[in-house]
């Protein structure tokens, strides 16, 4: 779960990490009042959970009341990558001596948390990694022991050339590590991290991603708003416990297993169409879940054909067949079904008199579905 900048900064402030003075505006009128409270110049920052906010006009420096009025109105009308701006963070202007990059994330290969830092702040780390990888510093954090002060000293020496800032820097690293472990984060990022004129470190921006699997231990995030769920179908899929992702094509897919689902999408593409979605119905499924999956898919009006691809192991093909059978009348687009494995014969028996196109072979089934979609 991604937190909004303002939510991440609330956590920072709880741990006494310095941030600009900030207020969260829910509409243009609040924005204007808060801007005056905070004083000019100040910064308006659109609260959206997508990258590239700056380039899309989601961050503005506001010099006076007039500008505040104008941009408060404008920015609340803005959409950034299709996402409407619903909240503006009004942030005091910080006098910056130097901009840095600092984050803690997990190194998948080494299976440990790492601190990533760079003298070059304000640029997206992916870009920096491509353009000036030599400026990116990494430090391993022992998962059981945590951050050690000498590591902060080493980082400080690399970033600043001396240890004059080491105490405040290590304090910041200690706090970030604490936050990282306490909330079981996938990422905590400060970009840019400002070194202010009076030699303090200030988090100008803040990004926090919490591991969804750990949320059961963190009820404090239960009611956090997120924008990650973009549309109704995704929301419904999530509530049903399906792993569903909306894509841009015409071939709707119902598959059991994530790997098989990905491979199915890849083949749809290979044979000339685009998949409309990723949908993994999971391992040990039953009739009702198939019904729900189908009802979910038909809400997507882009879909011209539904492809059901099941390798029956734990999943029983006859269960799937009964599920198809029970909703078949509500569906007025073609269905191609490929059911193989446990109770396959029963399934074919159940579906033999329907208009569902039954194809044994995965490749042929996909080709058929693509053919229908292309013609439609």
């Amino acid at each position: 779960m991604k937190l909004f900048e303002y939510q991440a900064k609330e956590i920072f402030r709880k741990f006494n990490i310095l941030t600009p003075k900030e207020k969260l505006a829910n509409n243009e009128y609040e924005a204007i009042i808060f801007a005056k409270e905070i004083g000019f110049p100040c910064i308006f920052k659109a609260q959206v959970l997508v990258g590239g906010r700056g380039k899309a006009g989601g961050i503005k420096r506001i010099e006076n009341e007039e500008e505040a009025k104008r941009f408060a109105k404008e920015m609340f009308l803005l959409k950034i990558k299709d996402i409407p701006v619903e909240k503006l963070l009004i942030s005091s202007f910080v006098d910056i001596k130097k901009e840095l990059y600092l984050s803690i994330t997990i190194d998948r290969q080494e299976k440990i948390p790492i601190i990533i830092a760079s003298k070059e702040g304000g640029i997206e780390i992916e870009e920096l990694a491509k353009e000036r990888p030599e400026t990116i510093l990494k430090i391993n954090i022992d998962p059981l022991l945590g951050f050690k002060n000498y590591q902060g000293r080493n980082l400080c020496l690399e970033l600043f050339g001396d240890l004059s800032l080491v105490n405040q820097f290590n304090e910041l690293l200690q706090k970030l590590t604490t936050i990282f472990f306490l909330y079981e984060l996938q990422l905590v990022e400060i970009n840019p991290l400002a070194l202010t004129k009076d030699n303090n470190f200030c988090a100008i921006d803040a990004k926090i991603i919490i591991d969804d699997n750990s949320l059961f231990r963190h009820p404090e995030f239960k009611n956090y708003v997120t924008q990650e769920i973009k549309n109704k179908i995704e929301e419904e899929a999530k509530s049903l416990g399906f792993s569903y992702i909306k894509l841009e094509g015409k071939v709707g897919c119902i598959v059991n297993g994530a790997g098989l689902a990905m491979a199915t999408l890849d083949l749809i593409k290979k044979y000339g169409e685009n998949p409309a979605n990723f949908l993994d119905i999971g391992g040990s499924t039953n009739k009702e879940r198939i019904e729900k999956a189908l009802k979910l898919l038909i809400q997507d009006k882009d879909i011209k054909v539904i492809l059901v691809n099941i390798f029956g192991g734990i999943t029983r093909c006859d269960d799937v067949a009964y599920g198809l059978l029970s909703v078949i009348k509500e569906i007025n687009i073609p269905i191609v079904a490929r059911l193989i494995g446990t109770n396959q014969d029963k399934a074919y028996e159940i579906l033999k008199d329907t208009n569902i196109i039954l194809i044994d072979n995965m490749k042929e089934a996909i080709k058929k579905a693509v053919e229908i979609a292309v013609k439609s």
Binding site: N213, S243, G257, A258, G259, A263, S284, G313
Partner: protein, 294 residues
């Protein structure tokens, strides 16, 4: 010889009284797996009857179970909220192989478990994995054993049904399968591709290796490096997720392209440069295998 397990492997089921635990215990027994006991805290003392088998005793702890039995392996069906504790229990009780089926274990738990494992004797497979199958002999986990034929191809994979799909085609060739190992779909797991490749490389029964990868992480890239340096046996590779959009988890917690890394493209290139022949459709493996002469 299979890798990791064989028909003599003595298995403990953690979470045996749960729906999945009980169902798959039955299926493991059906194939011939030696299930000696189960553990479910608070449900110790009972015996679960399975058709065609001795009743399986249930204990409150591994410590208790070990008073009566020795175990070579355990399989964990415990729900995610309690699975971490079950894994530590198995590690501390010196279970050599721990196979974790459970999905949804927090990432921070997994990094701590991996750090803790460093000076322990246990090997961890998973979590969020289908387990190990030695066709026609034994299995630990949930791989539907009915569809696979015994033979000389070693299969290692990050996914479940895709592995079944491909292994199903392999089983249609004259070669068959030595062992299928599902390492699991999570970003942080126990044994990686390389750990399993090392075992297949040493295993005399295994003459050919099939790696089934997917987007996310660098595990396939590491596997490719290892194959290039160490493996003389023919290796075939499949990568799922070529059409996956960035920053989206494709069902598996680990199947995500992050910050431009972990793309199918990168993995396919790594495979090719390591001399691993890449196939694009599950079914293609049949033709590829028919071409080789062993």
């Amino acid at each position: 010889m299979s890798i990791l397990i064989n028909r003599n492997t003595k298995v403990l089921v953690q979470g045996i009284t749960g729906r999945d635990g009980q169902f798959h215990t039955q299926r493991m027994i059906n194939l011939g797996t030696k299930i000696l006991a189960g553990v479910t805290p608070g449900k110790g003392g009972q015996k679960i009857k399975f058709p065609n088998s001795e009743p399986v005793p249930v204990f409150n702890s591994i410590y208790e179970a070990k008073k009566y039995f020795e175990f070579d392996a355990s399989v964990v069906f415990v729900p995610a909220t309690f699975a971490t504790d079950a894994i530590y229990e198995a590690i501390d009780e010196n279970i050599s192989l721990i196979v974790v089926i459970t999905e949804g274990i927090p990432v921070h738990d997994m990094i701590k478990i991996n750090a803790y494992l460093k000076n322990k004797k246990s090997k961890l497979l998973g979590p969020n994995c289908p387990g190990i199958l030695v066709p026609e002999e034994v299995k630990i986990g949930i791989i539907p054993h009915e569809y696979f034929k015994r033979g000389i191809i070693g299969v290692v994979s990050r996914s479940g049904t895709l592995t079944y799909e491909i292994s199903y085609y392999i089983s249609q060739t004259k070669y068959g399968i030595s062992t299928i190992v599902g390492i699991g779909g999570d970003p942080i797991k126990g044994m990686d591709f390389v750990d399993i490749l090392k075992l297949f490389n040493k295993d005399e029964e295994t003459k050919v290796i099939v790696i089934i990868g997917e987007i996310g992480g660098l595990d396939e890239e590491e596997a490719a490096k290892f194959v290039k340096r160490n493996i003389k046996k023919p290796v075939f590779g499949f990568i799922a997720g070529k059409t996956a959009p960035p920053e989206k988890r494709m069902g598996h917690a680990g199947a995500i392209i992050e910050q431009g890394r972990g793309t199918a493209q990168s993995k396919i290139e790594a495979f090719i440069s390591a001399g691993i022949e890449v196939f694009e459709e599950p079914q293609e493996i049949i033709n590829l295998l028919e071409k080789i002469n062993l």
